[in-house]
């Protein structure tokens, strides 16, 4: 192999990369916060909510979990305007990520709720709490604590999956790599560098989530 690796372009193009990292981080931050919130709401609906709501939420969750994120993104960005809903790239990307993570975290959180000992619900009821109050004050936090590792992995997966938002011209890290390779014709190097950055982001994100977890759940009895 007589290929010469060249990384001189880094000096010129690092602002694009930094900007791309910023957008990727912003996407996952909004996606994670709103996505998990949506997931909690849906998990409540599926596990304990009113009967009419359950099939609606179930359909949403199954539709999202059984279709590619890329198609969800295209549907939102290209398809919804024909219903009169015009979205910017970043808006569409944000919505797609929230909707996507919402469905996955719903299932993860629901599993946590369902693994709660029956006695917890009964204890809540015996203290005259309504089912929702029991959910809110007794069940939710221990459930989240149990599934926090699984939820964290899902957030990392969604962050890595966000690289396809470059396909609707949202200017994330992958977009920067595409841009650089089209200018420098150093495709392999550009993608190597961005892949390495993604790897670092994934590791840091996982650690950040672990820290956040130990912050939200300070030494509460698990299991």
């Amino acid at each position: 192999m007589s290929y010469h690796f060249e990384f001189n372009w880094l000096a010129q193009y690092y602002p694009e990369i930094v900007k791309g990292i910023g957008i990727t981080l912003q996407l996952i931050l909004i996606g994670a916060v709103l996505g998990i919130a949506l997931g909690i709401a849906c998990a409540w609906a599926r596990a304990l909510g009113p009967a009419w709501l359950k099939p609606i939420v179930a359909t949403y969750v199954e539709l999202i979990r059984n279709t590619p994120f890329l198609i969800q993104l295209f549907f939102i960005f290209f398809g919804l305007p024909s219903l009169g809903l015009q979205l910017g790239e970043l808006q569409a990307a944000n919505i797609a990520m929230v909707v996507n993570l919402g469905a996955y975290s719903c299932e993860i959180i629901r599993a946590g709720i369902q693994s709660t000992a029956k006695g917890q619900f009964e204890a809540g009821a015996s203290l005259a709490m309504t089912p929702f109050e029991t959910f809110r004050h007794v069940v939710l936090v221990p459930s989240l604590q149990r599934i926090w590792p699984a939820l964290s992995s899902q957030v990392v997966i969604v962050m890595l999956g966000s690289s396809v938002v470059s396909q609707i011209a949202a200017e994330d890290l992958t977009f920067a790599a595409n841009f650089i390779q089209s200018r420098t014709f150093r495709a392999f190097e550009a993608y190597m560098v961005s892949t390495a950055i993604y790897l670092i982001l994934a590791i840091l994100l996982r650690q950040a989530l672990a820290v956040i977890g130990s912050f939200i759940f300070p030494r509460r009895a698990a299991r």
Binding site: N66, T67, P68, L70, F78, P81
Partner: protein, 219 residues
Amino acid sequence: MTEFTLWDILRNLLLATRWTIVLSLVSFVGGGAVGLLLLFARISARKAVRVFARCYIELFQGTPLLMQLFIAFFGLGLFGIAVPAWLAAGVALILWAASFLAEIWRGCVEAIAKGQWEASASLGMGRLQQMRYVILPQAMRIAIPPTVGFSVQVIKGTALTSIIGFVELSKAGTVVTNATFQPFTVYGLVALIYFALCWPLSKSSQILERKLNVAHRNH
């Protein structure tokens, strides 16, 4: 301009779906084979081998599949071969799927009680014999539901190969959209076709899982 009926759109999409299915099968089977090797490496008695497998898994699970596809596409090109999209797609998906399957299966192997290793060792079995006759037959039972579940991820993963130009369902969706200017209908149909492929697998994975849990409780 020609008018496209719904049937025209659907027919074109379904024709492309064949390639989604073929690529999914190749990736799943190939990923399973590589994943099995990786599993053995991951639980090898030799530390260097274990570390290698761990790094491999960390690398492929810690980076976007899209990047892996780009690198396969442009990286294989460095060897002076013109890489067709299907080859890059297949290679990347196989290596990617292997990392996940190996990790899923490792969980199943580790779920087998330590006593099974000890009892088989005390009967004089070597490591490979223990795996072959005692551990894997038990691990396989519990590995089936999550493995079926992962096949859904593989099918969805193939959508990304459209980005490096492999013509499968997603790519067909874009092509048909550009011809018909009906993105809502086309992407809606594309989503439904993916759903039709994935949902039965998701559902069977859940059912198998539930059966296994019931069987477990009856012990």
